[in-house]
Symmetry: D2
Subunit: 353 residues, 4 copies
């Protein structure tokens, strides 16, 4: 994943956190600005947000904590659960194994990676790792990490998740879902999952705010009673307990008070779908199917070079010496007009080639 310059570009499809916050969220922050509140998530907004989330999840038996970012969520959750000699199983594309600068290892734990073509784990792949680890001379896998949507934009189906969960419960493995892009995942046409489903199928997960319209913030949801005790100690120790926790509370209250979280996800997916369809019509293939707000079209390097001067995005993978897959990410803030512009430019480069 090599970086492209962004000066004077028309629009950036680099990621889903290029803008600030959705106006509804920002307005709520403005209204609440001068109220006094206790720090560290003990403010009334955070408490309300927890209640609202429990309603939306339709599960009163979950503990909920807010932290500022995704790497924080991952390192707090994973280090809070594993014993020193235990490891976590993840896809080789998993964020914890590739793009978190060894954050999990820095808390003392090995990540056992599994090759995947679509970013998804399966019970078969997990079993293979389990079979290879049988004595105290090796780490003991005790946790499974999955991302939904995955780092390749794919989403888990309920059946797939249930099968993994069953295997985990039979093998004493905690199942953890990184939901940095759970908004896009759950809003996908390809998804048949609800928040309630997830809260019952996995042991612990987080709902991403940063990539779905919030300024910052992720909500960690703990279903498994065994993982709940003293969780705030872990948050504090890792520097993830915000002094002005109110900021996280206000935002999650707004995201879930009505259905903003899901409508923002839907919009992002719709933009990706349109972008994908139009690129396909121009005759290009894709690295993976479009299931959420990340698409991976395969384009000639020459065209990539040209269009990258006008639009921000990452080159994802070199396919051969002539063509590469790029990653285009849409978001709650993407305007259809920008998609049309991109397509017009892509078309013009394609013709002139």
């Amino acid at each position: 994943m090599s970086e492209c310059t962004e000066d004077k570009i028309i629009y950036s499809f680099k990621n889903d956190y290029s803008e600030g916050a959705h106006p509804t969220i920002l307005n709520a922050m403005i209204s609440a600005n001068m109220d006094q509140h206790d720090g560290y998530g003990e403010d009334s907004y955070s408490k309300e947000a927890v209640e609202i989330l429990r309603e939306k999840i339709n599960n009163q038996n979950v503990d909920i904590h807010f932290v500022a970012g995704g790497t924080q969520a991952n390192l707090v959750v994973i280090s809070s659960i594993l014993r020193p000699y235990e490891s976590v199983i993840a896809a080789d594309t998993g964020h914890i194994s590739t793009h978190e600068t060894g954050a999990i290892e820095a808390t003392g734990h090995k990540i056992n990676t599994v090759e995947t073509s679509d970013g998804k784990l399966t019970s078969e792949k997990i079993k293979k790792i389990m079979d290879e680890h049988s004595s105290e001379h090796m780490v003991k896998p005790a946790m499974v990490f999955i991302s939904n949507s995955t780092e390749l934009g794919t989403v888990y189906k309920k059946k797939e998740l249930e099968k993994i969960s069953l295997f985990c419960r039979e093998n004493d493995l905690i199942l953890y879902m990184d939901g940095a892009r759970l908004g896009a995942a759950l809003s996908s046409d390809k998804s048949d999952l609800t928040l309630e489903d997830i809260s019952k199928i996995v042991d612990i997960f987080y709902i991403g705010g940063t990539k779905n319209g919030a300024l910052l913030g992720e909500a960690i949801i703990i279903s498994n009673d065994r993982l709940k005790k003293n969780f705030r100690y872990n948050i504090k120790q890792k520097g993830a307990l915000m002094a002005k926790g109110r900021i996280l509370g206000i935002q999650f209250k707004e995201l879930f008070r009505e259905n903003l979280f899901f409508s923002l996800g839907k919009h992002a997916n719709l933009m990706a779908l349109r972008l994908g369809e139009k690129i396909e019509k121009l005759g290009y293939d894709f690295l993976s199917e479009t299931e959420s707000n990340q698409i991976f079209p395969i384009l000639p390097n020459e065209i990539i070079e040209n269009i990258n001067k006008k639009y921000g995005f990452y080159i994802w993978e070199k396919i051969d010496k002539d063509i590469s897959a790029v990653r285009l990410v849409t978001s709650w803030a993407t305007k259809e007009e920008m998609i049309d512009k991109f397509i017009a430019d892509l078309k013009s480069y394609s013709l002139s080639k």
Copy 2:
């Protein structure tokens, strides 16, 4: 430090992060909201904020990084510098040794604590620790941690700091200043220090935004060239590299564009001074001298109990069975009117006693 209830209180003096952000900052965030920017602090606001800060510090030879919170700043800085067997020396009141849930030890390092009555370290106290550590059977102190203002509201004088710095340089110790409340410290009548002074006297420090009018954010300033290399790796690994780094950039730009940072600190100190003077007039003593925005009056427990039903604050220390010191913190947002109300109530409780 026991917590007091906060329901239906008139005003909270619990801390300096009870409100949101100063309106100037909030407005800047609103204006910038829909602009697209690169993530992880590579946005133009963060870059501008760095340039503005270098100007204010009057030192072009500093590296500057923004993180979300103070514990994050401390654990990122300290773990980035120490070798595994090295320790950090701190006052026994130092935030890292008392109120960060072992965040520093969690990165592998012992804190050697020194008893203090006023929260300040001296070269003599540091020397004592150095003298006690002479072989590979003990940790090797390699860093000194000081807070300015301290956890007891006291501030360092330039001479005091220079003496510590000299000792550190002679003894191969890195000097690090936690500036969570540097705004109040530098704006104190008791302080003769400037940002420039600090950047030359210490090796690394941070300037706190959260406790001085920002929604969140601390600026880490690295003067010592040896500490600069690959610093962003440390930030990322500890989950402290914000995706929407723009939020930090915008806020520090506003705090330092003109003199907002200092005027907010001055206001907080002024409110503390007034509050302190009026409490003194009522005949009460103090645990320590008022030097910044934290004051520690000693009150009868009975009065504390009553007034705590109306005003939020922490009981800091039991003095004897009848009296205790409480901590009252003022901030950029404290209105004089609230001080008058508090004093009126304290007076009335004192008379009726």
Copy 3:
């Protein structure tokens, strides 16, 4: 504790690990030398040693593991038990807090130290630490570390230990005893404890071989069922699972097959007692009472300097500008003749002074 030179000295009282192994142990190693055995403690010697120890402890419900050294035992045990945010309470003289180069902190945990004059903890001292730690902004003490004999040569009485144990059980604290010098402790006239008592009063402890006649080796004894699971994983991960585990098994078999462990401890204590009595007769005071094989006479610095040219020992503590306490350690290998020589020399220096 400053080091003294040892060249051409007559005898060293520096510590109880200056010689090799007791001949009985060495002979057993020679006999077993060419037998083939499985590695990593799965040899028949280690298995026999475990059975013999269970008999001596008179407690079949303990798990037993052998490791090479005391710091290893401490870091493996403590890191295997604590959750990341949990701390261990120890005397300020405790080996883990002073002479293990931050080994415990390197596994991520703070040590909460308590001042003591005699090296012993009490439930009152532990309670004080517990009272100070009440929220997630501080570490959560979850374990108590005691040494028996202590670093000052004192030994715990059964009642003292039971009182600590009761407090620990009421407060959800694991009680761990470092028995590096348990041989001397249990063989002391001042002790009314048996191995069986200890196994019932504490949750986990170790029996030191290195300081009581073995070449190397400590036996970790786990009474509390909750601490037993997967313990070998912890040993392996910290590099403490010896390939030729047979060496540890053979030695502990010999130490406990009959009563070698106790008779060696008794001899060491007897030598210390004699040495102490004779020094006392010369008119000198002691830093602490002689209870086991370490004594701390207070001598004029001038005499210390002279006698230190002939006998190895550490200067423990400067008392005032003229006198200091020194530490003299006797062992299973100390011959009475050396004590007589030391006393004769001390007497001669004392007279000539």
Copy 4:
């Protein structure tokens, strides 16, 4: 690698640490037994052993430290060198990535693994990892770990090692060699390396005693000046500084006083060669070429099952449903007679099949 039972077996080819110590070593320990020596490697034996090793290495500019075991050596060395965000590159078969229960990750560092068929790294394979790691969102590889002989019994040629070394120096990577079986490697017919070569080509390595005739002990050799400072602090902190360090000193003195280390390695290799040749004559293939004291014949599962009742060894890898590779390890203590017995039995099982 599944374990096979060892009761009543004729001979174990499980590993090269099934027996005690070579008699020469044991005798030296007996002779030195009652001498008094300073602890922690400051005894005269350790000092002599260091001088003798420097002679044998023909390099006075190396620092030498002794530790008890291989996992200890690896975790002490690697954690002493890497900054928190740095990783180590290793073959996927490398001991640190497979059989040390996450010891390296427990010190905070990711291992970047590379697929190999013969256990050896190459500069090309290392480069691939380097190319994939280009920003602070990923760990920064800073070290290369190689084993010689490898976990598959192969040995490095001087040219291969020089090529890796050159790449490492150009890319600011520390080159570290795990020499748990360096005795067998250097004594191999396939090797053209000397200790001197290695000390000049790599930055740091260790010479294994445990697997080459010692009771325990590995010698860490540091060539690169940058890695020498305060190394004993690292050893102590990880529990690897033996109280009776004399035991390590005596053994390494004996191994290198004359050429015992090399003659023991030669013997082990010779036994493996004979064993291999005879198995080959019986018509069996091998997983890898025989280069040192580990061989990997591929046998029918039925025969494996039968012969494993009489001889100890590990099943290394399932080849297909009918055949598997087993690992046979010879050592300094293997008698030719046992090889003949094994071959006779294998022949008989092969015929009767």
